[in-house]
């Protein structure tokens, strides 16, 4: 592989505490190196910012519910499917882009790794087929466990070790990455037409509470020492007044210590926290709970969060939180789809318009940004839109603009129909903080990479790391006064090198690159009871035989496997 040198850029690499030093980044054989020979290809980054490739900790980009969204929203593609360019595949869709558009758009923004945030285990082959069909970017996927019958059965009896053994088996079978919980207990209750809106609502039949599921999974995760922590979509999402249950759920992480060999420091990642930071008792007196939530997060080292910013777009909501989607459909009367996946999970899909003329949408927009602006430790706070739930991932540059510029926030605030009511219900108008490029790099590079236990691979520019290098047309020493230029620069990288190959130049995709699927292989001593339980359940309950269940190797032709050894 050719050598490349990215010359004279303002390097921003929080993993090494480098903030704007003018330096060269050398690349050889897909890795960052100390130096290269004089024959290396030169990328001139003079007057531009150089960062590691972006790392997205949470997005819904592949799998059955994403595809349900694509299928049942042809209108999402209307007039948004330009003809294919030479050598490239057609791109279509806005909030639920085709796999090709997904890969191209992430690359255009200089992203190297994306975590698919909810993989239904039974459908993991489909998830991997779509991941393989998404060019350029590396991806992993989190199987969902929060409503899994095995997990609930073991944890009801307090059997953390058996839970861990089952988790290890399922992650391996699905070629997954870690432990995702979505509305723990609530989605299982949905099978009876119910939900778990508090941490102590028992799940019908299983007689276990969300609090017990969460605590048990936190313990099992650390028992295994996985690279990533438990990754949770909390209960009672999207309802006024839920900030209290959010803080109560976060408190469950107190007293649990991270135990892993991957440099991860948190034990719980709480995702799309915007949807969980609501005060008020109904949509009439709805207001921001961002301050209360961040006061707790800021003092709790064992936590990381991602924002889930509302971008004020027409989008598509999709979660493994079936009851929430049904509830949402009751509010907006648009179409909905709901899919149950046997013993494991259930998903819902509903289109949603975050309308700047609606007060609630304006407040949601403000809350997402407030959470980022109240954050004290940017290495624990990540930029997401819970793509596509609060907005498409292609809006990250816009979120960055809002976080970096009060002027941009005020301009959007002024465009809201109920501006004054939004100001009354939120704090955004009074916050002057403007994040720096260094802080943005923490939130999109070093932070999420560390949270996923991959800080030696992604999110930094130290020699030995994967050569994912993004160059943005922003002058560190002389930032534009027009915030639109910030958005534009992050939307279309001046150059993006992925695994040592130049894949984007001036915002245009040049190459399909060499994508990889990252999965975690847990090796642990055999647990005969769990093995027997799984075999029995497959004979009795499943529609597929156990031999047909695991993801075959041919579905993951470019694996990057992280081994985890659990001692007996």
């Amino acid at each position: 592989m050719a050598e490349i040198i990215v010359k004279n850029g303002f390097v921003i690499d929080p993993a090494r505490k480098i903030d704007g030093d003018v330096a060269d980044v050398a690349i050889k054989d897909g890795k960052i190196v100390d130096k290269v020979g004089s024959g290396a290809k030169v990328i001139d980054a003079k007057g531009k910012v150089v960062m590691a490739g972006g790392v997205d900790v949470h997005a819904h980009v592949a799998g059955p519910k994403v595809n349900v969204g694509r299928l049942f929203r042809p209108e999402d593609k209307l007039f948004k499917s330009p003809m294919a360019q030479d050598k490239f595949r057609v791109e279509s869709g806005f909030s639920i882009p085709s796999t090709f558009k997904t890969g191209y758009d992430y690359a255009r923004m200089g992203y190297a790794f994306v975590m698919e945030a909810a993989m239904p285990p039974l459908h993991s082959p489909h998830v991997h087929e779509e991941i393989h069909d998404t060019p350029i970017i590396d991806e992993g996927a989190l199987p969902v466990f929060g409503n899994n019958w095995f997990v609930m059965d073991y944890l009801k009896k307090g059997e953390v070790e058996n839970t861990a053994a089952y988790i290890a088996w399922l992650i391996k079978a699905t070629k997954g990455f870690g432990v995702k919980l979505v509305n723990p207990g609530g989605t299982a209750a949905w099978g009876w037409g119910l939900n778990c809106l508090s941490l102590n609502d028992p799940v019908p039949y299983f007689e276990i509470t969300p609090a017990e599921i969460i605590t048990g999974c936190l313990k099992a995760n650390e028992y295994l020492g996985l690279p990533h922590s438990v990754h949770i979509h909390q209960n009672n999402l999207g309802n006024p007044g839920n900030y209290q249950i959010t803080i109560d759920s976060l408190k469950l992480a107190e007293g649990i210590k991270p135990k892993n060999k991957f440099g991860r420091e948190q034990v719980m990642h709480s995702t799309h926290i915007q949807f969980h930071s609501y005060k008020g008792s109904n949509w009439g007196d709805f207001e921001s709970g961002a301050k209360e939530v961040m006061d707790y997060v800021n003092k709790s080292k064992g936590l990381t969060i991602d924002l889930g910013c509302v971008t004020l777009d027409e989008t598509t909501t999709m979660t493994a939180d079936g009851p929430f989607e049904h509830h949402l459909n009751g509010l907006n009367h648009l179409k909905w789809a709901n899919v149950d996946v046997e013993l494991e999970t259930a998903a819902g899909v509903v289109p949603y318009v975050y309308d700047p003329n609606i007060k609630v949408c304006g407040i949601q927009w403000a809350i997402g940004l407030e959470l980022g602006l109240y954050a004290k430790n940017m290495d624990r706070t990540f930029i997401t839109t819970d793509h596509p739930n609060a907005g498409p991932f292609t809006r990250y540059p816009r979120v960055i603009k809002w976080l970096m510029s009060k002027k941009a926030r005020e301009a959007t605030l002024n465009s809201l129909k109920h501006k004054d009511k939004v100001i009354d219900a939120t704090h955004i108008h009074g916050i002057d903080r403007e994040l720096t490029l260094y802080e943005i790099a923490q939130m999109t590079r070093s932070g999420p990479a560390k949270c996923l236990g991959m800080s030696n691979i992604y999110g930094g520019l130290a020699p030995g790391m994967n050569a994912d290098v993004a160059v943005f047309d922003l002058n560190y020493k002389n930032m534009p006064s027009d915030p639109e230029k910030i958005e534009k620069a992050f939307q279309r990288a001046a150059c993006f090198i992925k695994s040592g190959e130049i894949v984007v130049k001036d915002g245009e995709v040049l190459d399909h690159g060499h994508k990889r699927t990252v999965w975690v292989n847990v090796k642990m001593p055999e647990n005969p009871q769990v093995k027997r339980d799984i075999a029995q359940s497959f004979t009795k309950d499943y529609t597929v035989g156990i031999d047909n269940y695991p993801v075959r190797d041919y579905l993951v032709p470019h694996p990057f496997v992280i081994d985890v050894n659990v001692e007996a």
Partner: protein, 268 residues
Amino acid sequence: MATVTLKPTKVPELMLEGYTISPDTFAGKTPAQIAGLEGREGKIKVKLGDFFEVSGSPGKTATETDIVIAGDCSRVKYIGNKMTAGSITVNGNADMYVGGWMKGGRIHVTGNVHSFCGIAMEGGEILVDGKAENYVGCAYRGDWRGMRGGTIRIKGSAGNDIGTFMLGGTIIIEKDAFIHVSTHAEGGTVIIKGDVEGRVGGQMVKGDIFVLGKIKYMLPGFKKIATVEKEVDGVMATFDHYIGDLGERHPKSKGKEIFANLYVKAAA
């Protein structure tokens, strides 16, 4: 007003997607520039000049521009796509999506139109002397935002799915229609002067339907509440007034539940 004439010179082998045939795109251009405007035939980019001889010249703005297509457009889709002003006359038939997403101006087709005529239309007028296939004034596939304004008049008959998800505007079918009228509608008016087979107003929340002929199969979700005299498109008649769809949700306005109205001409 200034007139541009397009004379068909070649029948497209596949369908021609003629989305640039609109006063908005033609305005201010020379005939040569108009002939150079792009279209699609399947996955291939083509030029309007490959299929039409362009003569005359457009006005400076869409409002000042009339387009006459002097011949058959049975294989030309998207005529008048998103147009905002001016006029288009098709002397012959037109394929799918005539006047789709149209915001203003006038379209007159002297022959028949295929499906999706006036899809998601917001304003302006479409007049078809012949008949229409399916999906007159409907919403785009999957979309819940159908026709919002303007008028579509089909002098002949029409097929299925008229005014699906309609929110406003008027559709007049002067002869018969088949099934699915104003499905999911939340506004607007559909007038059918002939007979309808059935499924009229299914899941309709708001809006009006007038049928001057007969409905062969009424939906059970509609209930007769009165007999009324009404003038419809210049015709005075007595109608049985039904409300529905009782199986749908019923939003409230000023404390009163809202229903869609279906008026069927009373038997003499």
